[in-house]
Subunit: 518 residues, 2 copies
């Protein structure tokens, strides 16, 4: 019996096994497609690559375009290559890759971002394809296998796969035989429609409330494709001094919160975003004193394996094993051990306000920039250029017990080593409001904003977080805005509207936000 035959336990479905090239006939220009996959793990590979090859070989660029609904990012060899072949019309709610970002910012790809928990739910509600009846034409799902009843056992992520399986007219399943089966790691629940939605009875990060597979009407499965391609996961660089300094501020803060009794000794369940600062924070825990930690987060990066290995992490809940190829190797080497301490949930649940608020998660995410009153921009540089999307940052920042955002205080521009400040009078795009953020951190320090009124908040943010190259101007701005605002009887959250984006405008014009004599 081949590995594929072992994995597909509903034998009737073996009739539908075919090569990736043979699925091309199912696709038509303008279709709405849903893919499994999340940051980029558990996404289909064989079929998207076959379609790209087909377009390339037949010069169909711009003639076979699709609307892509995928939980979060997928590997560059699929989505980004599609973008380079002009195969994407719409894309929701997150993206990664140079070509797709070029497509989005040149107006060729219609992209929209959304809180990740809400994307999955709204997809199921039919909001994204409402003009065509609310369904998807084809769902393409990477799986570890298929159960005796036709249920789909996922691979390294859950993401929006349950909702896609639920609402797609046709399904293509890529069964990956190159990886071990992830069976037993998933806890799947399909979003119910109101008024019949039920409470998510998760009161501990390890609680299970669903099935280990996606229940599936197997008559919808039109093809099963064997895949031998591995996930093209992100490599992370070693944390640098700056990230470690930020992580240090946060560790000190936690220690003090434990001391004054606002956090228990093992803290509350941690959520940690993606990127180098997040990695440094997890590194901080690896070498720190906190024991019996729990994680309720969106993605698990490589350093989370170190945290498991350190004995300090009891259990982790996420929607994706966002590991690098090297991380996956480590993971597979101790597969049975890790497996018992990880549960993968749909993003609708990993990021759900209900569970995040109940568990009292500690949310930690990196924005592009933030302002003195604590509004943060996560996705649009200069208010206009999309990077990736806000991801799950809003789900966690709004609902966490402690909402922390961290970033370097400034970044170099082409002509100024301190050309771009993270701390601004006013951000050009708001993804997180002043009502949603408790703590801001840069390598300069940590601003605890809980209970502070706007002008107090601004002083604290400038003092603790701003880079010295920008402190004088920011203080001067705040002082002048406050004086004028109070004079006019509108000084609650003072701003000088005619000056508010002066630093950003100078950056556009002269390549640095410092418009004054240095």
């Amino acid at each position: 019996m081949s590995e594929l035959e072992k994995r597909v336990r509903k034998k009737k479905l073996l009739d539908r096994v075919m090569k990736a090239e043979d699925t091309i006939k199912f696709f038509e220009n303008g279709m709405d497609l849903g893919w499994s996959g999340f940051t980029p793990v558990g996404y289909p590979k064989k079929v998207p690559i076959a379609l790209a090859d087909y377009v390339e070989e037949n010069n169909l660029q711009g003639k076979l375009r699709f609307n892509l609904f995928i939980g979060a990012s997928v590997g560059a060899e699929t989505e980004d290559r599609w973008a380079s072949l002009d195969m994407i019309d719409r894309r929701w709610p997150y993206n990664t890759g140079k070509n797709i970002q070029k497509g989005i910012n040149s107006g060729r790809i219609r992209f929209g971002s959304k809180h990740l928990s809400m994307f999955a739910q709204d997809l199921k509600y039919g909001f994204f394809t409402k003009d065509k009846g609310g369904k998807l034409d084809i769902g393409i799902i990477e799986a570890s296998g298929i159960t005796e009843d036709g249920g789909i056992i996922l691979a390294g992520s859950v993401g929006t796969a349950p909702e896609i399986v639920d609402i797609a007219d046709k399904l293509i399943i890529e069964v990956n035989t190159k990886m071990p089966s992830f069976e037993g790691m998933h806890d799947v629940l399909i979003t119910d429609m109101p008024p019949h939605r039920k409470p998510y009875l998760i009161t501990n990060v390890a609680d299970r409330i669903g099935t280990t597979y996606i229940p599936c009407d197997h008559d919808k499965i039109v093809a099963i494709v064997e895949s031998d391609l591995l996930d093209n996961g992100r490599e992370l660089t070693e944390p640098d001094d700056l990230s470690n300094t930020i992580a240090g501020h946060i560790m000190d803060f936690f220690k003090n919160e434990v001391k004054v009794g606002r956090l228990p000794e093992n803290l509350f369940p941690l959520q940690s975003g993606v990127g180098n600062i997040a990695n440094a924070i997890v590194g901080g825990f690896v070498h720190g004193d906190f024991q019996n930690l729990n994680v309720y987060t969106e993605v698990l990066q490589d350093t989370m394996l170190d945290l498991f290995d350190s004995g300090k992490l009891d259990f982790a809940s996420a929607t994706s094993l966002s590991l690098s190829p090297k991380g996956f190797k480590r993971f597979f080497d101790k597969f049975d051990e890790y497996k018992e301490r990880i549960v993968l949930r749909p993003q609708q649940i990993s990021n759900n306000p209900e569970v995040i608020r109940r568990l009292g998660c500690i949310g930690m995410n990196t924005p592009v920039e933030f302002d003195i009153y604590a509004h943060a921009n996560s996705e649009n540089v200069l208010g206009t250029r999309m990077i990736n999307g806000l991801g799950g940052s809003g789900d966690f920042e709004r609902n966490a017990y402690l909402s922390i955002m961290h970033a370097p205080s400034c970044r170099p521009s082409k002509n100024d080593e301190f050309g771009i400040t993270t701390v601004l009078p006013k951000v050009t795009h708001v993804d997180h409001t002043e009502h949603d953020i408790d703590i801001l951190v840069t390598e300069q320090g940590l601003a605890d904003l809980r209970g502070l009124a706007p002008k107090e908040r601004a002083k604290e943010v400038i003092e603790k977080c701003a880079h010295p190259a920008y402190k004088d101007y920011l203080n001067d701005y705040l002082e002048r805005a406050t004086k004028k605002g109070i004079e006019k009887g509108m000084g609650h959250e003072p701003h000088l509207l005619d000056e508010v984006y002066k630093m950003q405008l100078n950056f556009i014009e002269n390549g640095t936000m410092r418009f004054w004599e240095k």
Copy 2:
């Protein structure tokens, strides 16, 4: 037996009955106070008024100042009078009244706003008074009575009273004997601390999960004051043509959503904000065809009584009976009938993301203004002058099944009948992001933004919602911004940063947002 003796069923507590004037000794400058009350119902009256009289008579203005933590607004005869006597240092998270707004915007009162569900929770977490141990010095609560065990039976609202009773060192209870007892209408649950928070098992608007009183350590009660003062509730004007037109657009939209199967015939539980448009919408339901409606909202305004009387409303859940004096008279006249169909919950639960998302509420709120990409400003005029606070609008807009915001397309200024547009290139303050709003409505029309990318959204908002006096400029702005953005490879959500607040700046300078030749 006096009415007060009847109401205070724990007889031992009758020893603590005193006059309002005699409670003055408990208060000291700089104290943290929590009051019951919400939009302005169920707030303490006798003690705050006695304190104000005391300050006035003894010329203690500015010498007896307090930090006030109250669920939402309270009557002008208390809070606003306190502001006029300079008795308020800090105030969270909502305010109403000319004097308090003057104090806030002149920098004398340190005010902060917060999502109302989160305020109650964060107060219990000790975040607002963390530098003083996380407690409140004194809680002042209006009650209908006290149970045999010392539990507090509230009056016309719940708000943050449970958390205040829980964390206050001392309690003063105003037992109102002028109103009937509201016993049985409340469903009280005190916020647990994580990791021990439990699911809120509400799957129908009428579900009860708590007690009819606030459990209370009665040793904390230092005074019981009899009150004969009624709530100073808001009077609403009759809906005007404009509000009715907006309500009409929304009714048509609902009818179509039912027709295409995205809403059931009795819709989902309705949340409706405060003000005249909200009132007109409820009026639309009174005269409309929808039957067996349910309401899961923050406050019940007078028209909700009409909706009950029409036979079309089955049940309503809220945190406050935000009725006018006339409304209360109606309410008391048919008290037993209404009582069976209303439950009052803590604002932490009436506005909780968990319940709102599960029930699939339809959220409808009025912002100050919104922009072409669907960000909305709920609280800061011109980005700087605080009105009331964002209230519960963020709790509902973020988590509702359908997130609707409605406003007139423009308002007159002193020198221009169309001087202030609601639809702007960019709002000066963001309380609700583009990720949180599905539908925008003005008297001009309704823009359904579900599934649209930013530039599509902008076209729809301008076409459907903008006032004709502003359409040409907005279209021109969008066109120029798009052209420039795409040229520069940053055209995802196009803006001209040097022009983005030109209308607002012209308003500050010349009293109208129309800076062009009319």
